[in-house]
């Protein structure tokens, strides 16, 4: 009997396991993981391609070709009538390019009387040499009559050729540099006079029609003014609004309506804020066109919803027990908010603010309508003077016909990306250091 039982137990197939689709479910999970990895890889690939194309096109813009020339500040050229003591305008309007031209001719061993050669020499050096040499003379008039080595910028086409960005194998009449200029370039290069130097001009010059003398100076100042204005206006208004909505206002239809509207505003396309700025600030209130102050106001309107939403989330994340404890110890509601809730919510608020600012820093569309997409060469002394912004300068350079602006555009993108990265990293660091979990 027992044998039989034993026998049946031994020979009987184990009870069929209920099919719970384990294999299928594991396979589905593996597939899902694969999709996830693929999605990340595609995203990363796009990012790498974008960064690589910007970096490869843009890194050259941080160097600029100059020729080191012994400039003789000849009194006969600068001030032929010797009037500079009485008329300071003489030093401003003097024919400085002629000085650079002469020095270059001497360097290349060209006879000044050889007119055809001298005409060809034109266009080798940048017209910016006028301002460059004028600044030297105006800052130190004693230099007149002496000789000094000055690094003169070369024209943009030669700069591109020097950096190897112009295909010299195409026929001469189809490119912007002549064979003669290339020959001179190689000669100066061999002598070591012509070389690439760090391009400080990219950070200090204003807008210019010549690529070699155009820079981000005005744009950086304009962006800085706007960021300060946005910070000064949007942060207090946004934080006050959120504190009221989150801590004081009674839940009602009305506050619900406000909440829905704030969320909607955060999603409104930025150009709409530009239209609003044009209508209200420029046309109705009569504020100046192209001013970074108006730009700052427009960007404030754009950033406010972001800051309010972030602040409200940060306030709501503070546990109610802290509120109860503060109130229980006899603090007023205002004391509770400012002495307990706000300090605890501060990291979240700051993170939201920085991300809002970073978004505002990258905006062009709202600035278009208030006239900030413009050619501005002078530094803005106050926020009420015409200025541009970093992304605007990128846009303006992207539309230029000359090839040399392409590298400047990419260079400007690199600079803007560095600023944005710095802001975002600050936000992350702040969050890591001060965020508290309950």
């Amino acid at each position: 009997m027992t044998d039989v039982t034993m026998d049946t137990v031994a020979t009987a197939t184990p009870p069929a396991r209920r099919d719970i689709g384990l294999k299928r479910r594991y396979a589905a999970e593996r597939r899902f993981r694969l999709y996830g990895v693929l999605a990340i890889l595609v995203g990363l690939a796009f990012l790498v391609v974008m960064l690589l194309s910007i970096l490869t096109k843009g890194y050259t813009s941080f160097w600029q070709t100059t020729v080191s020339l012994p400039i003789t500040f000849d009194e006969k050229v600068i001030d032929p009538d010797n009037k500079r003591a009485t008329d300071p305008n003489v030093l401003i309007t003097a024919n400085y390019p002629a000085l650079a031209q002469k020095a270059l001719a001497e360097k290349l061993g060209i006879d000044a009387k050889n007119k055809p050669m001298m005409t060809r020499l034109k266009g080798f050096l940048s017209d910016g040499s006028r301002v460059q040499l004028r600044d030297v003379v105006v800052s130190d008039p004693a230099v007149i009559g002496t000789t000094r080595n000055v690094d003169i910028l070369v024209a943009a086409n030669l700069d591109s050729a020097f950096k190897g960005q112009i295909d010299l194998s195409v026929p001469e009449d189809r490119r912007k540099v002549s064979d003669q200029q290339v020959e001179w370039m190689n000669k100066l290069k061999a002598e070591g006079a012509m070389a690439e130097r760090f391009n400080t001009g990219l950070f200090t010059f204003g807008a210019s029609s010549r690529p070699e003398t155009s820079g981000l100076g005005v744009a950086i100042i304009g962006s800085f003014y706007m960021m300060v204005i946005v910070l000064l206006l949007a942060l207090p208004i946004g934080v006050a609004a959120s504190i009221y909505l989150e801590e004081f206002a009674k839940k009602s239809r009305f506050t619900d309506l406000i909440e829905v509207n704030i969320n909607n505003l955060a999603a409104v396309p930025s150009i709409v804020f530009g239209l609003l700025g044009l209508a209200v600030f420029v046309n109705f209130l009569g504020m100046p066109r192209s001013a970074s102050f108006v730009g700052g106001l427009v960007l404030t309107l754009m950033t406010l919803p972001t800051i309010i939403i972030a602040t409200r989330a940060a306030l709501a994340a503070v546990p109610p027990s802290i509120r109860s404890a503060a109130l229980g110890l006899g603090a007023s509601k205002m004391q509770m908010v400012f002495q307990h809730i706000l300090p605890l919510a501060a990291p979240g608020i700051l993170t939201g603010t920085i991300i809002g600012l970073a978004r505002a820093l990258g905006e062009t569309a709202p600035l278009l309508l208030i006239g900030m997409v413009a050619f501005v060469a002078n530094y803005p002394a106050t926020p009420f003077d015409p200025a541009t912004a970093l992304p605007v300068q990128i846009y303006m350079w992207a539309n230029e016909a000359e090839r040399a602006f392409v590298e400047r555009m990419s260079g400007a993108i690199i600079i803007l990306l560095v600023f944005l990265m710095a802001m975002n990293i600050t936000a992350i660091v702040l969050r890591r250091r001060f965020e508290r979990r309950w």
Binding site: N89, I92, T93, R130, V131, I166, D167, V170, D173, R174, R175, K176, G206, A207, S208, S209, R210, I229, L232, L233, L235, P236, I237, V282, N283, G286, M287, P288, R289, S290, A291, F293, F338, L368, G371, V373, A374, F375, V376, A377, N378, T382, F384, D385, P386, A398, N399, E400, A401, E402, R403
Partner: protein, 345 residues
Amino acid sequence: MKKALLTASAAAFALAASAGYAAARDQIQVAGSSTVLPYAKIVAEQFGETFSNFKTPVVESGGSGAGIKEFCKGVGENTIDIANSSRQIKKDEVKSCQDAGVKDIQEVKIGYDGIVFATDVKGPDWALTPEDVYKALAAKVVVDGKLVDNPNTKWNQVNPKLPDWDIAAYIPGEKHGTREVFEEKLLIAGCKKLGGVEAGKAGGLDDKAAEAACKAVRKDGKAVDIDGDYTETLARIDSNKTGVGVFGLAFYENNADKLKVATVSGITPSTETIAKGEYPVSRPLFFYVKKAHLGVVPGLKEYVDFFLDDQMVGPEGPLAEYGLVAAPEAERKAQREAFDSGKSL
């Protein structure tokens, strides 16, 4: 920290309120055509460098129409002083200007610009006529004396001498001043030569409608409106080597190593052929000055004088070097005299 922030923002408000911006504007403001923009920039820059007592003017782009609209907003500090335009101001624009209080407008013609067709530099030579352009790009073409929907899909169907390329043309969008010249000098001219106006009238259209039918561009994707600048057109040609783009002469000359220019009616576009009036597709460039701002905005008169000086708009000047076709000497002189006499529209 909090208090400091609050005080600072209060201060910023106060600054805004306290007429910080009411101080007289000391910088000329210019807006308008993106074709005129590079020339205006060159002049503005040199103006700022030459006249140390004036600031460099601020130049916005945005298109002729947008510039004139901004110009016609009224008179005062927060309105622009000069509108650049790649076409003549229209009657209704003058009227809207006057309704807004801009009574006196001075017109200044700075020179001429050519519109060229260009293909990728490695492509074959192109010789176009207005008729070819009309037959390739118009919405309706003449077949047997009737206007029918454009059946052409390849350039060699339009003209057997043209290559066997699918028609893909990148033409200036409607907001560009260039578009008007394109329509007038190519589409309408070609249409008239082929009897399109008559065909339209025979089909029951009146004069105006027949002309409008001539310049209507096909909408089936073979003619692409480019609303951006010429760099966008260049990028399109880069990615589609059998595309044909419309450029300004100056832009083409700056990118001659990437583009090959087409002749129109057998004439190669160049500053010489345009100055002589041989090349058919050219147009004058203008800017408009608000007379009420002369003498109020510092440097405005000097800027216009400087612009019109031969060292700027002359055939040897930097504008000509960039690609502007200088007006004949008599015309330049007439422009200077007209501006000095204060003649307004």
